[in-house]
């Protein structure tokens, strides 16, 4: 923890509430707040928010000559009344930073800004540190005159501090937190757990620019927080995250999702990952359950051919699993199947129950790879449906998934060398 004691340290709480004066010392108004531009190690003061004749006005840094306790002096004697508008990367020190939590990067801890220290370095006023101790509180509680005479104490170097800005109301004001990258994923996870939900989300968002780091932080988070954050992310992002996680952690994360979302997310994973996740989630990769794809088209026996075609058109399932279309009865039991080509040739006024006369062989999720392969060979099928104990279809295994598994290892390697997927 770097601590410095430069000669002239100004305290924010003593600057705020002071008077704004023109070049000749004439009183113009009172100082409400200081505006700084975050992003640098020592953020420069870019302006003063003042109250002049009951109106809030903005005085840019270029108009300021000197900032001191109880008085801020302007360069000119003319006040150009500008209403305040937040600009990108700017925060109000008193409103947005003072009294709030900050991240002390060196200690990987959350601290509270009891006082903000400002000093003139390299020609201009900059935030140099933050007092997190009792002294800062005492100075603000005692009468102003006493506070002014209190000697400055040690404080935390701003270069190792990161402020939360999520509560700053400007729309889409997104200040990067570059210092966070210096922390270990486990430390970041600890911070997220200790911070409020919104502050935690800010850390997670900042970390999100580096997807490897983000995945690492998720792996370190406790279940409660992991659930909080993963729930509010869209499926695509969750899948993206899962790809970068260790499979067992990925399964944990998946477990944090509501039931109805899990399958949607798994579907978005690349095949290898998907199989691994499924395997860990309970299915052996060499079984029908581990191999199956949840994407298929299955209609009620009462559906018309036109409805079937429409469903196929809307389906996002890969072409190979759509080679067969399935039919179920009102109990959702698998009742028949029809090859896509046969469906197209079927009379257009036919009901699915009448045209899908083939009763397909089916397997349970526990069925082994060999059983699936044998069924495919015996029945000349490219797709085999997987059903649960109630004979309801859960997914389909297509021949390419099986081939991938039964192909001798050496063959596959040669394939890789040839540059095929």
């Amino acid at each position: 923890m770097a601590t410095t004691t430069p000669p002239t340290v100004l305290h924010l709480s003593l600057i705020v509430g002071g008077t704004l004066r023109d070049r000749n010392g004439g009183r113009l108004g009172s100082v409400d707040d200081l505006i700084v531009h975050l992003g640098e190690d020592y953020p420069p003061v870019t302006g003063v928010l003042a109250r002049v004749a009951g109106r809030q006005v903005f005085v840019p840094a270029s108009e300021l000559a000197e900032i001191g306790h109880a008085r801020v002096e302007m360069v000119s004697d003319r006040l150009d009344l500008q209403p305040f508008e937040r600009r990108e990367g700017e925060v109000l020190l008193r409103k947005d930073v003072l009294d709030r939590q900050l991240i002390n990067i060196d200690g990987a801890r959350l601290v509270r800004a009891n006082e903000i220290e400002i000093a003139r370095i390299e020609g201009w006023y900059r935030v140099v540190g933050v007092d997190t101790g009792l002294r800062g509180i005492v100075r603000r509680v005692v009468p102003r005159r006493v506070g002014t005479n209190m000697p400055p104490g040690a404080f935390l170097d701003w270069a190792s501090v990161e402020a939360f800005t999520g509560h700053v109301p400007t729309v889409r004001l997104r200040i990067p937190h570059p210092k966070l990258a210096r922390l270990h994923p486990a430390q970041l996870a600890d911070l997220v757990e200790a911070a409020s939900h919104n502050e935690g989300r800010e850390i997670m968002t900042a970390v999100g620019d580096d997807s490897e780091l983000e995945a690492d932080v998720y792996e370190e988070l406790d279940a409660q927080h992991r659930r909080e954050f993963v729930e509010e992310r869209p499926d695509q992002e969750v899948a993206h995250l899962l790809e970068r996680m260790e499979p067992d952690d990925a399964v944990d994360l998946l477990g944090d999702l509501p039931d109805e979302r899990r399958e949607d997310v798994v579907r978005l994973l690349p095949p290898v990952q998907r199989r691994r996740v499924r395997a860990l989630a309970g299915y052996d990769p060499a079984t029908a359950g581990g191999l199956m794809s949840p994407e298929f088209v299955c209609l009620y026996a009462q559906a018309s051919k036109a409805e079937a075609i429409e469903r196929i058109e809307r389906s996002r399932a890969p072409a190979d699993t759509l080679a067969w279309v399935y039919v179920m009865n009102l109990d959702r039991r698998l009742k028949g199947a029809i090859a896509l080509a046969d469906l197209l040739r079927a009379p257009s006024d036919g009901k699915m129950g009448d045209v899908a006369t083939f009763l397909p062989p089916r397997v349970s999720a526990e069925a082994g790879l060999e059983e699936v392969a044998r069924l495919m060979t015996d029945y000349d099928l490219t797709v085999v449906p997987v059903v649960d104990e109630r004979d309801q279809i859960m997914g389909v295994v297509s021949v390419d998934d099986v081939l991938e598994m039964v192909l001798p290892r050496g063959w596959r390697r040669r394939f890789d060398v040839l540059g095929a997927d």
């Binding site: 003072l98 009294d99 709030r100 990987a108 801890r109 959350l110 601290v111 509270r112 800004a113 009891n114 997190t132 009792l134 509180i137 603000r140 509680v141 109301p169 600890d190 911070l191 757990e193 200790a194 911070a195 409020s196 939900h197 919104n198 502050e199 935690g200 406790d222 279940a223 409660q224 927080h225 659930r227 909080e228 944990d252 477990g255 944090d256 509501p258 039931d259």
Partner: protein, 440 residues
């Protein structure tokens, strides 16, 4: 005092380094989790809600029943409504902002207001802490053990439990002991009160023009809507990571917990009203007198039953209060909290906890203290300080910038406003009466 349910949970979380022991993990589906939550909340939840009826609460409700019979029952209905509204605001703020109340006051109103709020909460907390140790002394006093022996031993035990952090098992035992207070509804029924006049008292307010009535009124408000517990309803919501999507579940819990705990409180009043009041014992001054309300149910064992319940409730609160105080101080002054959650890693924590236990012990072993008067007196202080915190809760919960679409609706603002105005008026009246004439 349903808030203690959440307070307990928050406390347990913290001792466990913020990891939830009971929270369903991984493969448990949302439906299962909800079912578990409902079961957990109907069983132990309600028992814990009742545990909030602590030493001060028992003393106050007993005094109310003995002094005025059923006359103040109507007030419990009003206070329950206020309690629900106040706790809902606290829970909502916790869910929306993800921050504790002390933290929000600090961020929104600055150091001075924050110190003001903290000081008033601390004064109330010190008072309650004293009352819990007095309760321990009184409970064991019924077994013939003098407070000068029992209280220091209990204090050392509580201190060790907190510092060693092996509080979990002890907490369960304490909570189980308070189940004995379920004897009150049975005793109340067995005492065959005139249910017609009970019902009449609930719907028809009767107001006495006396100082004692005012004191008991404020004490009842103070012990039912304890200031510190509002802080901890909010902290518990934050700690459990309750989001706005789970707010309705939280509302249901807050509402049913408040109603349940206050029902038990009303039965305490009915039980004492149907016994002590009818027998002409209008002024309770000892625990043994208060225990008589249980006689219709327990007969000669009334004192044992009362002692066990009082001991459990007092120990439970005696262990929670110092920690809650330490958290308020940490949030206000920005001392380290959260990451190093273990108590022994934080010197400020140990100092605050030790100080509170010490103060409680020292006061409780003073020979010949008027036990019941002191317990009720502490609740009067609580009630008098209540408006301070309520005003903050009210204002924060209606802050548009902070709460957005979740700020108070008009209906809420009216009830919350009425609660604030009523408690403030009572406090000011109390102040006027106290200054105008000597206390009691």
């Amino acid at each position: 005092m349903a808030g203690r349910v959440s307070a307990l949970r928050a406390f347990r979380h913290r001792l466990l380094r913020g990891r939830s022991d009971g929270a369903p993990r991984g493969p448990l589906s949302r439906g299962t989790a909800r079912l578990l939550a409902v079961i957990g909340f109907l069983g132990p939840g309600l028992i814990a809600a009742n545990a909030g009826n602590d030493a001060g609460g028992i003393a106050t409700y007993s005094s109310v029943g003995a002094r005025y019979g059923f006359d103040l029952l109507w007030m419990m209905v009003v206070i329950t409504a206020s309690l629900i509204v106040v706790q809902e605001m606290a829970a909502r703020m916790g869910a929306v902002t993800g921050k504790g109340l002390a933290e929000l006051i600090r961020e929104q109103y600055g150091v001075r207001w924050s110190l003001f709020a903290t000081t008033s909460v601390l004064i109330a907390n010190v008072g309650i802490c004293i009352s819990e140790f007095v309760g321990i002394g009184a409970a064991l006093g019924l077994a013939g053990i003098p407070a000068q022996v029992s209280v220091p031993v209990a204090a050392i035990g509580v201190w060790l439990l907190l510092i060693r952090g092996s509080y979990k098992v002890a907490e369960r035992i304490f909570v189980l002991m308070t189940i004995t207070f379920f004897a009150y509804p049975i005793a109340a029924i067995l005492a065959r009160p005139d249910w017609g006049s009970v019902g009449h008292s609930i719907v028809a307010p009767s107001i006495h023009d006396s100082r004692a009535y005012l004191f008991l009124f404020i004490a009842t408000a103070g012990t039912t809507i304890t200031p510190f517990m509002q802080l901890y309803v909010q902290s518990a919501v934050v700690e459990r990571g309750v989001g706005v999507d789970e707010l309705n579940m939280e509302r249901a819990e807050v509402t049913s917990g408040s109603i349940f705990a206050n029902l038990v409180a009303m039965f305490i009043i009915i039980a004492t009203g149907a016994t002590l009041y009818l027998h002409g014992e209008h002024n309770i001054s000892t625990a043994s007198q208060a225990a008589k309300a249980l006689e219709p149910f327990a007969g000669q064992y009334a004192e044992v039953l009362f002692a066990v319940g009082l001991l459990g409730a007092s120990l439970l609160a005696a262990a929670i209060l110092p920690v809650t105080a330490a958290y308020v101080i940490a949030e206000t002054f920005g001392f380290e909290k959260g990451i190093s959650r273990r108590i022994h890693e934080a010197p400020v924590f140990v100092a605050v906890i030790t100080a509170l236990i010490l103060i409680g012990t020292v006061v409780a072993i003073i020979p010949g203290i008027p036990v019941i008067a002191l317990l009720v007196g502490v609740q009067v202080v609580n009630g008098a300080l209540l408006p301070v915190l309520l005003i903050f809760i009210w204002r924060l919960a209606s802050d548009r910038e902070l709460m957005g679409d979740y700020r108070n609706g008009r209906f809420f603002n009216v009830i919350a406003g009425l609660t604030v105005v009523a408690t403030s008026a009572l406090s000011i009246t109390l102040l006027a009466v106290t200054i105008g004439a000597p206390f009691l």
